[in-house]
Symmetry: C2
Subunit: 460 residues, 2 copies
Amino acid sequence: MKPQGKTRSIFPRVEEFVRRRRLLPEGSSVLLAVSGGQDSVGMLTILRELAPKLKLRLSVAHVNHLLRGAESDSDETFVSELAASAGLPFFVERVDPAALSAREKRSVEDAARELRYEALERMRVQARSDLIATAHTADDNAETVLFNLARGSGVRGLAGIPVKRGNIVRPLRCLGREEVARFLAERGVQHRDDSSNISLNATRNFIRLEIIPRIRDGVNDECVRNIDRASRMLAELGDFLEAYTACETEHVSRVEGGDLFLDISGLKRYLIFIRREIIRSAVRSWSRKSLAFEQVEEILGIADSDNGTSLALPGRLKVWKEKSSLVFTSSSRAPFSRQIEIGHLYEFPEFSFSSEICRRNEVRFIPDPSVEFVDEEKLAPPLVLRSWSSQDSFQPLGLGSMKRVGAFLADKGVPRRERDSVLVLESDGKIVWLCGHRLDARYSLSEQATRVAKLVWRRR
Amino acid sequence: MKPQGKTRSIFPRVEEFVRRRRLLPEGSSVLLAVSGGQDSVGMLTILRELAPKLKLRLSVAHVNHLLRGAESDSDETFVSELAASAGLPFFVERVDPAALSAREKRSVEDAARELRYEALERMRVQARSDLIATAHTADDNAETVLFNLARGSGVRGLAGIPVKRGNIVRPLRCLGREEVARFLAERGVQHRDDSSNISLNATRNFIRLEIIPRIRDGVNDECVRNIDRASRMLAELGDFLEAYTACETEHVSRVEGGDLFLDISGLKRYLIFIRREIIRSAVRSWSRKSLAFEQVEEILGIADSDNGTSLALPGRLKVWKEKSSLVFTSSSRAPFSRQIEIGHLYEFPEFSFSSEICRRNEVRFIPDPSVEFVDEEKLAPPLVLRSWSSQDSFQPLGLGSMKRVGAFLADKGVPRRERDSVLVLESDGKIVWLCGHRLDARYSLSEQATRVAKLVWRRR
């Protein structure tokens, strides 16, 4: 009989799958996430039978999402009895995704997923298990691939649900949902209806119920298996790309003074796909931030544009072209601003500022841009030491006219990554000193000056 | 007004698309494949307007598939009038896919596609055009991607319809079908219905009419654009993989004596995805034959198995493990078989065979395996020189018992790639000599022998 034949083939297939992928190493202890639905009951039944052969120690965990009242509690009872009859340790946690969803204005499904995996990890520790096994099938994977394809996704998204990620494994990804259903029906194993769909939003359910069956009937009846196989190849391709990109990224990137430099001509030696991957990978490992596809496209545009063209990226990142490099800075420090008084020493993580009154004849001009002398009588409160802003103008000593601070720094050739950290000393709203760079002519010592303020700004 | 805005944006979008991808270089001459359907009429309308700016010379080609009688002829008339009113040269060819399909037992759509592209290429030469432009849209591409995903496909299949392949370009791949329809409607441009669907089989039409609209409504209304973008990335990824694989393949493969050798330990240094790509690429460039996914998997299995394990591949290819290599041979030469007579010289591309009668006292045994002496009186017609077969056994001189030819060659350590080309000399169905290797004991010279045949087999 054919159905029987199929059922018998389930065990060797799962066994080969977990062995080849090294999902469940011999001797490991595995916590099975069991909702009580068809797939997870199938997983429990199959792995329990394979456990002696694979030398596994099993435990069962159930997360009660409290979303369907008495029904949720019946699910919990059902799974606890299932574990008891299988002679396996049972763990349960109750979580409240409805509350989290309301509090953080997220979808219930999304909140449920986060709370579920957190709870499973706690129970894994409690059960002293190495791994958590979830019951995702090839169908779940095909649905994910179609979902990601339709909503726009890169190679990783089309790779579907990972067979193994961290300590989470999916030993049932080699089986179709129908096969699991038939297996349970033949064995007369009971399961709860619908419980497993708690994690599905309306869109995912639509793909499951409306799209996949139509593709199966009208395009290819092996479509789930074929999509699953394509996603497996893309996952393996993703592994390769990650390793390759990490290696190549080293050749064209460096971090200096906290900024990320990408060599443009080096970058252009790669084909476009890898260029994008390198940019994304370099920025991710430097800033721990992920760039969207469009942002990478814009960055590529900057590499082709004029020197100095810049782009603000989310997360307070900024990128511009400087000579032969793309330079990324993170302006994560908030703008600095601090009221000061003459005669005090101010120390900050990145610089110190001090001032003192001295007499005219004590002035010794020295070729140190960190030190300046100003006419103290021209200063008016409040004196403020602050980051310069793009609105700032001043009258640089020796120039004879007003000039924007930004333009002054650019003309002087101050590297853009250093410009952000430049400070101004302000007196009653007017700029006295572009610290470390240039005095304002309006405050310079005249012949008549008697009281002199010595200003010292030092980078630490 | 929004619709108008969209229409206006069509021209800059197509312009940017063809410029960025270098689809239609300035000064080139382009033959537009126009069926008369919406998409191709849209392409004609758009490119005619862009032609002066892009410096293009346009011609129009129509392929009449003769599949719908008078309707087909009306399409032809419609397109010829369209070309005339646009002031463009017009070319037409009639092809008969129905006949080809019946003759070669292929689908009509498949036959139509082949004949259409052949006809277009002839008309391109006639029109002195550089390129052929077809009117595939982003929708056509999304349909292809879904089709290939469902039926099982690698990275190349998921990359969809190439924007450029050979001298065929698809300048409308940046537009959705709806946009083209709206554009034509707003301009009041007429087109023929249904004509463009001649190339679609039932499955493709099903995806177009049943699957895509459902995904658009129920999953993501930008799905066509998103799938198109994913396929573009995969196409770029495919370009990279091809270049990368070709380069790496050189490190682990060599062709020697017509056989392909892949170094197994070298191969294993790559991640699984690249291992497969290298095998596929090496075999393709060596034999011009493409391996299916399952065949590559089996070859990987051989690399992990015992020395000598072999596998027959389609197209008369064969692969086995020999020491640290995978060895591929092509037994494309048909089995050799030729009746011979004593006293003649036979010359073939790869070897020569000659024989002569000599007297007993003329025999000089020499240590040359290409020369043997046999008792001529034991020979019986027909004498046949032929490739050995797996059914052959003989009685190797010095062994004292019958032995299979295959086993003898293996025991003697003859490299597998040389075994295929070994010949036997057969006398009335019995093996006389395994040429160049061993005489059969039944034909060796006895004390009584008076007539001796000297046999000479030489590799050329």
